[in-house]
């Protein structure tokens, strides 16, 4: 035990571990807040679809950056500048708009019935996975393509190479998400519980749906660093589902979900340091364990 503590202390003395920890907790907090609304609105599929889109966008960004660098051989300034911009923003400048656009599109198709919502999600998510993987294979300069792809899908070491700027961006996003949540809490509740009633009383339900989709896209892009694009939905869905098992009011479900998510992220990251397991899947495993514990507790409570 003492040895483990020493190991932990050793790791936490490094600033990159501290940064990873801060960012990890914040992302967990945001995704769980949003998760309750998404699960209850039956929107969790949008989260899942978007994470795949983000993967496709990331591949496109990587390819774009490679191509631009190749093109800038010589004296062409513009491609060089663009490539630098991509590098500096960690490809965010490409990923974010694409994911946002997909979020809005999914929401709109979910509402009109020409292409059923679930089919649209399947189409977009699998499509972007396929195209993304193909692009990376065709153009990537890296020698270790499958390693790169695996890292993007299941969480890479990018969480350990965060710059201060990225930490600041993450903190700003968290403040934004929490701010939106607190300010619009009652409206979000109304829109989640009963859209028709909310509309009838003059709440702009469509606007709030859009807000939810936009925030989802933001969080997914952020969370890709932490757990990888395939595992983001777990971060969104599990804490909310666990909390819903035990708690009976909307507020308590949201608070509990946030607490579960932050604790699981913390525990997951510590375990992954101690046992050198992948960060993303360790966090998600912690979430799964909590989900089953909550299930068992709720079953016991019901029997009594």
């Amino acid at each position: 035990m003492g040895e483990l503590m020493n190991t932990l202390q050793f790791y936490f003395s490094h600033s990159f571990v501290q940064r990873a920890f801060i960012v990890g907790m914040l992302i967990a907090l945001c995704s769980s807040l949003l998760g309750v609304t998404l699960v209850l609105k039956r929107f969790s599929f949008i989260g899942d679809g978007l994470s795949h889109v983000a993967f496709g966008a990331m591949s496109a960004a990587t390819v774009a950056s490679t191509v631009l660098k190749a093109a800038s051989h010589g004296d062409n300034d513009l491609p060089m500048w663009l490539a630098k911009l991509l590098d500096e923003t960690n490809d965010m400048i490409v990923i974010l708009p694409i994911t946002l656009a997909a979020a809005i599109m999914l929401l709109k198709t979910g509402q009109n019935t020409k292409i059923k919502g679930d089919a649209a999600v399947a189409m977009i998510s699998v499509g972007s996975l396929a195209v993304g993987y193909m692009l990376v294979n065709m153009f990537s300069s890296s020698a270790n393509i499958s390693g790169d792809v695996c890292g993007t899908l299941f969480g890479s070491q990018s969480i350990l190479t965060l710059t201060n700027t990225e930490v600041v961006i993450c903190i700003a996003m968290t403040v934004l998400v929490i701010g939106v949540f607190v300010l619009f809490y009652n409206k979000l509740f109304a829109v989640t519980f009963d859209e028709s009633f909310a509309k009838a009383t003059g709440v702009k339900a469509d606007g709030y749906n859009l807000l939810i989709a936009v925030i989802t896209a933001l969080i997914i892009v952020l969370a890709m660093n932490l757990v990888g694009s395939l595992l983001i939905s777990a971060l969104i869905v599990f804490p909310a589902l666990s909390a819903m098992r035990l708690f009976k009011s909307f507020l308590s479900v949201i608070i509990c979900s946030a607490v579960i998510s932050v604790i699981c992220a913390g525990v997951g990251m510590i375990l992954s340091i101690l046992f050198s397991t992948p960060v993303g899947s360790t966090i998600v495993t912690a979430d799964i364990v909590v989900f089953f514990i909550f299930r068992i507790i709720s079953a016991i409570l019901k029997r009594e």
Binding site: L40, K41, R42, V182, L183, F184, Y185, N186, K187, F189, A190, T192, F193, D194, S196, F197, A198, K199, A200, T201, G202, V203, A243, M244, F247, K248, S249, F250, L251, V253
Partner: protein
Amino acid sequence: MSEQMICRDVTLGYEGIAVAEGLSFTVSEGDYLCILGENGSGKSTLIKALLGLKDVMSGEIKWVNGASSREIGYLPQQTPVQRDFPASVREIVQSGCLAKCGLRPFYNKAEKARCDKMLDRLGITELADRCYRELSGGQQQRVLLARALCATEKMLLLDEPVTGLDPKAQLELYERIAKLNAKGITVIMVSHDVHMSVRYATHILHIGSHKQLFFGTKEEYAESRLGQSFILSEGGENVG
């Protein structure tokens, strides 16, 4: 009694195709109007139009004497989402006050007091901290009624409120709505059940496929050939 809403030769439809034409009726303060009609007769479109969520294709819906489409306490049909929703009764009833908040993020004292008053009025004060999904169907409808009353006490618009309730709970809900109506709240109810409609309503609006078949008091309806044929042939069963 003063008129609240006048619907004059209204045509409703989607994307240029009319689903109901020639709707003309008035609703006055304290009325209990039942809207009868088969599925697909445009009842739900009419509801949307009354709530101001959908424009009419022609004709007009006019609100008079201080009534407006924003002053309707709406009780929509239950959605699957709601049946296992983790929310306390108080949270749901309070959300009826949302329109009064405007841009203010939280409820003030007056709105909380109003919520308590409505809980009391529907006899669900002791359920206030219970979880919505654990309530019986009848209790859930009372919660939604309380929420609608938080929004307004002028007019209630109920969309097949008794669907899915057992007969005893149905009767109880009808009685409760009748009591609210007796206190002066205008009630508009979309219904399948001719017998209950004739029993509780003051006015009947019967929509057939594409056009209005009848509007008048329930006494006139019971004497009309249309009313009689429906009352006899349906024998208490659902029309739709």
